[in-house]
Structure formats: C-alpha cells, structure tokens
Amino acid sequence: MGERAILIEFEPEISENTLEKVLFYKNKIEGHYIKVKVEVINTYNSLLVYYTYTIENVYDEVSALTGLFQGTKITKKTIVQLYNIPVCYDVEFGLDLKLISREKNLSLDQIIGLHTQPIYTVYFIGFLPGFLYLGGLDKKLQISRKIQPRMVVQKGAVGIGENQTGIYPKSSPGGWQIIGNSPVPLFDKNRLPPCEISAGDKVKFYQVSKSEFLKISEEIIEGKFQFKKTGYEGGN
C-alpha cells in the first residue's frame, strides 16, 4: 500500500480463529523487526506493516515477510488479560435503552443481563484513540445503527452497532445505540502506552449504580483508579 506499507490480508471474516492467526503473525513480525523501525497494526483480518522510511525494494520486503511465515506453526498465546469494566446502565446514560427494549421485546434487566454476560474479545483499536472493537455481542442485542447519527455522543458512552459493542473513549459524533456509560479511562495521552487494553485482550462488563459510577469517577480524578484485571487462559 504505497511506498511505506505492506498490507497482509487473511480470509475476509470476523472470527476468533482469524484473529488468532493475525495476532500470531503480528507478534512474529514485531519480533523480527526489532532493529528496523516498523509499526504493525491489525484489524479483524488484516495486518499492516508500516515502515518509517520508504521501502527500497518491495520484493525483498515481501519475501522477508513470507519467509517469516513459512514453516511456522501457529501457537496460541494462552494467557491474556481479562478486564472487568464497570458500566452504569442508568437511563440517564442509556439513551437508547427504552428503544432497544421496545424493538427487541426485552426488559431493561434482560438487556443488562445479556450485555454483562459474555466475555468479549478485543479485536483491535481504531476509529478513535482508545476505541476498542469488541466481538462477542449476544445476537439478541444486535441492533442497527441510528439512521441519523448523534452529533455528540458523550465520553464513556457504551453503545451497540450491529454485531459490535464498544465504549466511546471521548465525546464524538456517533451512530451507535447508547445503553450506558463507563467511567474508566480507555485513552490517556499522558501515559505510555496511552491505552492499557490491547488487541487480543478480553473484556467483561459489570453493572454499577449511579453512586458507584460517581465514586469510580472520583477515584480516576484522584489518580487512585486501577483496572480490575485477571489473567485469562485460552486467549488468542
């Protein structure tokens, strides 16, 4: 892709299997290019190797990359982090809870139950700094995006768009159906790395009340907040 990047595409599907392969090769490439400066980003089924210089001989680079892939067996990286993320599903935040309840014929408690049940997989970060693309949403909660996107979706808003769910790391225009808000900082420009959670990690949501939400918000301001996380076996 141009003079500075090589795009590697896998089968066009959104699955844990594909992600496993993508992340395996991502690690391989990152391990190989320690001295040369490259950035490797992944999406559902792609790897982009971005060089900080213009590629002199693209054939050499491609054969170097394919050489890396040949004869390697995909091994699972078994331990990843599972992040427990608090979400307040109060209707004050969950602007579209009632709409979803009507359209899907689910009570608010059922919606919350279905949303906090799965262990979601972080496929990659994109769209906005710190925006996690999460897979694993329950089919019963899948709902199309708003026809008219909102001009402003609040920072921390938790939303659903088709088969995806996620958290807006900052206020921005957005078309997802909003069901709650999470106070946790997904992007901190003053921290290195600026995002704690990365591709391949797992996420589980848990419900908090409005007062707990405010308490966590205060902890974040005071710098006392820490993510609740545990090792998770069988990750990608």
Binding site: Y50, T52, G126, L128, P129
Partner: protein, 285 residues
C-alpha cells in the same frame, strides 16, 4: 526571558507539526505530521535544522506574528506573500529576525500550505513523543491569539549562504497526482478503473488535515469491506460514489473500499491544492 512568538492575528488555520506521531497507530492514534513533507523538509534544511524539526504549517491565509528575540527563519511551500515589518520577502531563503520584528502574510499566489521553519525548531510541548498538534491529543490544535510559541534565540551566523539548496516549486502547480492502485482497486469494474485513470476530479470544500473530499460522483459497485487498516494517502470510495483522500490526521481504520494509494510525492502535491482545483491520478503501478 524566554524567546517566544506572540500571535497578533491567527490567520485562517495554522498548526505546529513535525514528522508525526510514530508508534501509536495500534492505539488508534493518527500519525499527524506535516501535510507536505517536501516543503517542510526543505524549510528545515535551509536553516540546517534536523529533518522533522517542529515547523508552523500555514494554510492559505497566514497569521501575523511578533518575535521577542533574534532568530533565523525560512519559508517553503505555498507562496502566501510573506512580509517582515511589511517589507515583502521571498520563500526558500534564510531571513534574520530581530527582536520585535513582525512577520505577516498577504495574498495567496500559488499552493495551499506554507511552512515556516525557525532555527532549532519550535519548542512547543511534546505529547506522545511528537509536537504535532491534533485535537484530542494535544491541548492546542489551531493557532490562536492567546498562544505563545517558544523557540531558541540564535544570534550566531552559522548559515553564511543558502546557495546550495534549491527548492523545486513546479509541483505546486501540477494537477497530476502520482498514485498506486489500492487494495480494492482490482475489484472495481473496468469502467470504474478507467474513470480513475482518465477523469479529472476537483477538490471539494470538505478538505482539511484529516481528509480531502473530491466533488465528482463516480458511482460505486463495491460493497463496504470488513473494517481494515487505512493510511494517509489512502483514497476511499464511499457508498455514494465519492472519493475521499485520507490525509495526515486520518483515522487508522476504515470500512470503505480503498481504491487508490497516493505516493509520497502525490500527497505533497494534493496537500497544496485548494477548493475547486483540478486533480487527476497518474498510476505508477
């Protein structure tokens, strides 16, 4: 006292940029950095600055700036009629600034973006290892009257001549943008490919550091793709059949087909186009 620039008038849109934010794409953070790498590099080179020193990127209508201490400057890129204390100066040359001097700009002659380099580079703060301004990452994202731009005052005359550096300005006037086929180019119909190869397109009013939209509607037979990586210089084809040229502040992923990828020089050229300018794509590969 610290050497700094006072902003008397902000002009249309100016930002501090350097070589960009490297190593943060995987967190969804745009690269940013100068839109026209060639002009910015030349301006720094004329002053013997390290390449990638922070520079002021000035769009179409320049600001009016006042310098507190002596320093050397150079301007490359678009011709925006620069003046020191109201006395017209040229691009591509070193000028010595005295304390209290005012730099202003007048009528745009050619190009869109001019680059003001200062010896030693601007010393505005770094966020995530870069001085490039970007809304949501840096506190400032646009030059305004309340800002002061710090720099290092220099009096010694290290630069005796700039005769050895020649700025090639022909690219400012060219409408041919050098490109490569994008990942989804081959999925287009022959007719769509032919349109991309042979038609003229024009720059839409929606053009900024994130993306430059083209006005013409060329149609689109392709479905959206599974969200995939995009880069500065990636040209997306929207469902409505419009082309969007992603630029330095673009998102890191996108779901529209990526039909074209601009070359580095192609990006420099399109960065110098303004609303209504005509462009065509010259395929290199």
């Amino acid at each position: 006292m610290k050497a700094e620039i006072e902003v008397l008038q902000p002009g249309l849109f100016s930002t501090i940029q350097d070589a960009g934010r490297k190593g943060f794409l995987k967190y969804g953070i745009p690269m940013s950095g100068v839109m026209d790498l060639y002009a910015a590099k030349m301006a720094n080179l004329i002053l013997r600055n390290p390449p990638g020193s922070a520079i002021l990127e000035i769009t179409q209508m320049g600001p009016k700036l006042k310098f507190s201490h002596p320093v050397k400057i150079a301007i490359c890129g678009a011709l925006l009629s620069p003046k020191i204390n109201n006395f017209p100066i040229g691009n591509n040359r070193v000028y010595k600034i005295e304390a209290g001097d005012e730099l202003s700009f007048g009528k745009r002659q050619i190009g869109c973006r001019a680059y003001l380099a200062i010896s030693g580079g601007f010393k505005t703060g770094k966020v995530l290892k870069s001085r490039s301004w970007f809304e949501g990452v840096t506190d400032n994202f646009k030059l305004n009257k309340t800002l002061k731009l710090p720099y290092e005052s220099t009096n010694e005359s290290k630069i005796e001549t700039n005769a050895s550096i020649k700025f090639t300005s022909e690219y400012l006037g060219t409408s041919e943008i050098d490109v490569f086929p994008g990942p989804e180019f081959d999925l287009l119909t022959e007719r769509e490919q032919e349109i991309l190869r042979s038609h003229n397109f024009s720059i839409d009013k929606n053009n900024n550091r994130m993306a430059i939209q083209l006005r013409e509607i060329m149609g689109n037979s392709l479905k959206p793709i599974i969200t995939g990586p995009v880069l500065p210089g990636t040209v997306q084809l929207t469902p409505s059949g419009k082309l969007i040229v992603l630029m330095r502040d673009c998102q890191t992923t996108g779901g529209y087909p990526r039909v074209i990828q601009l070359s580095e020089t192609g990006m420099n050229k399109i960065a110098q186009k303004i609303i209504g300018d005509s462009v065509s794509f010259a395929f290199l590969g």
